[in-house]
């Protein structure tokens, strides 16, 4: 049994529901995560799947501590980071990276690609690590001088990956990173990620609403519905013998490109 990099237990998160706030007094709480527990072993690739409103994005942002959970516990490498303040998190930030869904909004439009990758490293644009990161994601070095809007969607997403791996992190969270891409760039980005996971020994959590992109990459999948884990199983088992009706529904809804498979 591999040692766990992340141990999440009883994770809860609720936010004030401003839509139903009475004129006076506090707003009622809206529960987004309702007690979630799972481990991510070092070197594992975990898929997190769910529909909109399932809490998968919130869960991801809690893992990388962009938001603070209201209850439960997140242990990263044995250290409790659940309520760590920003100042003390800063030392850990380098080890926990994230790739965002929308590469247009996650890359600062007025900085060059080189600066975007170099800035978190506190390095210059010409730093060897920038060139190396670009090389690892299959982009030419000359791209360092370009601006994000001069790239295609797939290339932008590669820049997002380069920025994350340049930090040599222990853990990367990928939040819906292929949902805005064409199938061909989708395949390229997923293949790239698969290869980087092997080469760099990354631990990866891959959030998606689409089970079909998860099947290749992930060893294990957790299925979220309404802020709870409804199924947590090895990928093969999940696809072959889903135990929860919601998982079955998700699988059945995928349009397999084959007209002979009835829907």
């Amino acid at each position: 049994m591999a040692e766990a990099l992340f141990q999440i237990s009883g994770l809860r998160l609720d936010v004030p529901d401003m839509a139903r706030k009475p004129l006076f007094g506090p707003a009622p709480r809206l529960e987004i995560l309702k007690g979630i527990s799972f481990d991510i072993p070092r070197g594992a690739v975990l898929g997190i799947v769910g529909g909109s409103g399932s809490g998968k994005t919130t869960l991801g942002r809690a893992l990388v501590r962009l938001i603070e959970p209201t209850g439960g516990e997140i242990l990263f490498d044995g250290q409790d980071i659940t309520h760590l303040p920003d100042g003390r998190l800063r030392g850990l930030r380098r080890r926990i990276q994230m790739i965002f869904q929308d590469p247009m909004s996650s890359l600062n439009p007025r900085l060059t690609v080189g600066r975007i990758i170099a800035a978190p490293l506190c390095a210059r644009t010409g730093d060897a690590r920038v060139a190396e990161a670009l090389d690892q994601v299959g982009l030419p070095k000359a791209f360092a001088a370009r601006y994000p809007h001069e790239l295609s969607g797939g290339q932008r997403q590669r820049v997002g990956i380069a920025r994350a791996i340049a930090m040599r992190p222990d853990f990367i969270l990928a939040d819906e990173i292929v949902s805005g891409l064409d199938v061909s760039s989708q395949a390229q980005v997923l293949n790239l990620l698969e290869q980087l996971v092997k080469e760099l020994g990354l631990t990866l959590a891959f959030i998606s609403h689409d089970l079909s992109v998860i099947s290749r990459l992930c060893g294990r999948v957790i299925v979220l519905q309404g802020g709870r884990i409804v199924e947590d199983a090895p990928t093969r088992q999940l696809f072959e013998a889903p135990s929860h009706p919601y998982t079955r529904e998700l699988l059945d809804a995928i349009p397999v490109p084959d007209p002979s498979i009835r829907w």
Binding site: R94, S106, R110
Partner: protein, 283 residues
């Protein structure tokens, strides 16, 4: 092959260069005013009152754009008036921009109590009628160039504050700000190195607009005799004086008005032109 983008860019370029050319010309006039003005702008000579411009009958050599009712040379007064106009535009514009933008950035990025205080302040400020406010301020501070600049800053910082706050708020929602947190940037560094470059184009556009507005406000205050001393040549003051003799000597009113118009227009065009040329997203 047809390249439309090139054509648009050329037009934008022409706009930028024309406005820069005019403003550069005005700036040169302002800097070298004592050297190039043909007459003493303050010298009165009632014998030379209301002389028409050089190309009209009855003009005197050396008074290219005619004289006003006190016999002062219109061209020379305009050249010296450029000094006041540009000083006000630059100082009032820049200080207003710095004060308003700083407050807007802080309010929009840090939110919380900073945002609440700045927000209330802006609300209260906006409830004052600006012209009355300006007149009141000048009455308290006394007339003079410094008072005019202070009045403009005190009144107009809210314009920057509101727009910059909204834009900062907007940019703060973007994932690249989250990404900066993931990278372990401090809040201040995120604000300066991630958000500021994205708010800067808005600030520059507002700044050039504000410079135009400052010139107008100065002219209005001169017009109602609340700017600097009545004797000193300012475009607004000249327009006010020219108004009294519009039928006998239209040139006293028209030439400073044209200068004012072109300058204000150029500032606005300069803002758009700079944005198109130097903003990497639009380039």
């Amino acid at each position: 092959m047809l390249d439309g983008r090139g054509a648009i860019k050329r037009r934008a370029g022409a706009r930028l260069w024309l406005s820069a050319l005019w403003l550069g010309f005005v700036a040169l006039c302002a800097i070298f005013a004592p050297l190039i003005s043909p007459q003493d702008p303050l010298a009165q000579d009632l014998m030379l009152g209301r002389l028409p411009p050089a190309w009209m009958a009855g003009s005197e050599p050396g008074f290219w754009l005619g004289t006003d009712s006190l016999g002062r040379d219109v061209l020379s007064r305009m050249i010296f008036g450029a000094r006041v106009a540009l000083t006000v535009a630059l100082l009032a514009g820049v200080v207003t921009c710095l004060v308003g933008s700083a407050l807007g950035l802080v309010a929009g990025f840090y939110r919380g109590w900073a945002d609440r205080i700045v927000g209330r302040l802006v609300d209260i400020w906006m409830a004052f009628p600006p012209v009355l406010f300006a007149i009141l301020l000048i009455a308290v501070l006394g007339t003079g160039l410094t008072s005019v600049i202070i009045a403009i800053v005190v009144i107009d910082w809210t314009r920057f504050c509101r727009v910059v706050r909204a834009e900062t708020l907007n940019q703060s929602q973007m994932d690249y700000v989250q990404s900066a947190r993931i990278a372990g940037f401090t809040r201040l560094r995120t604000l300066l190195s991630e958000i500021l470059p994205n708010v800067l184009p808005t600030m520059v556009a507002l700044l050039t607009l504000e410079m135009g507005i400052a010139v107008i406000v100065e002219a209005i205050l001169s017009f109602v005799n609340l700017s600097i001393s009545t004797d000193a040549p300012t475009w607004g003051g000249m327009i006010a004086e020219g108004r009294l003799a519009i039928h006998q000597a239209w040139w006293v009113l028209v030439f400073p008005l044209v200068a004012l118009f072109l300058t204000v227009l150029s500032f606005a065009q300069l803002g758009d032109g700079l944005r198109e040329r130097f903003d990497p997203v639009l380039r």
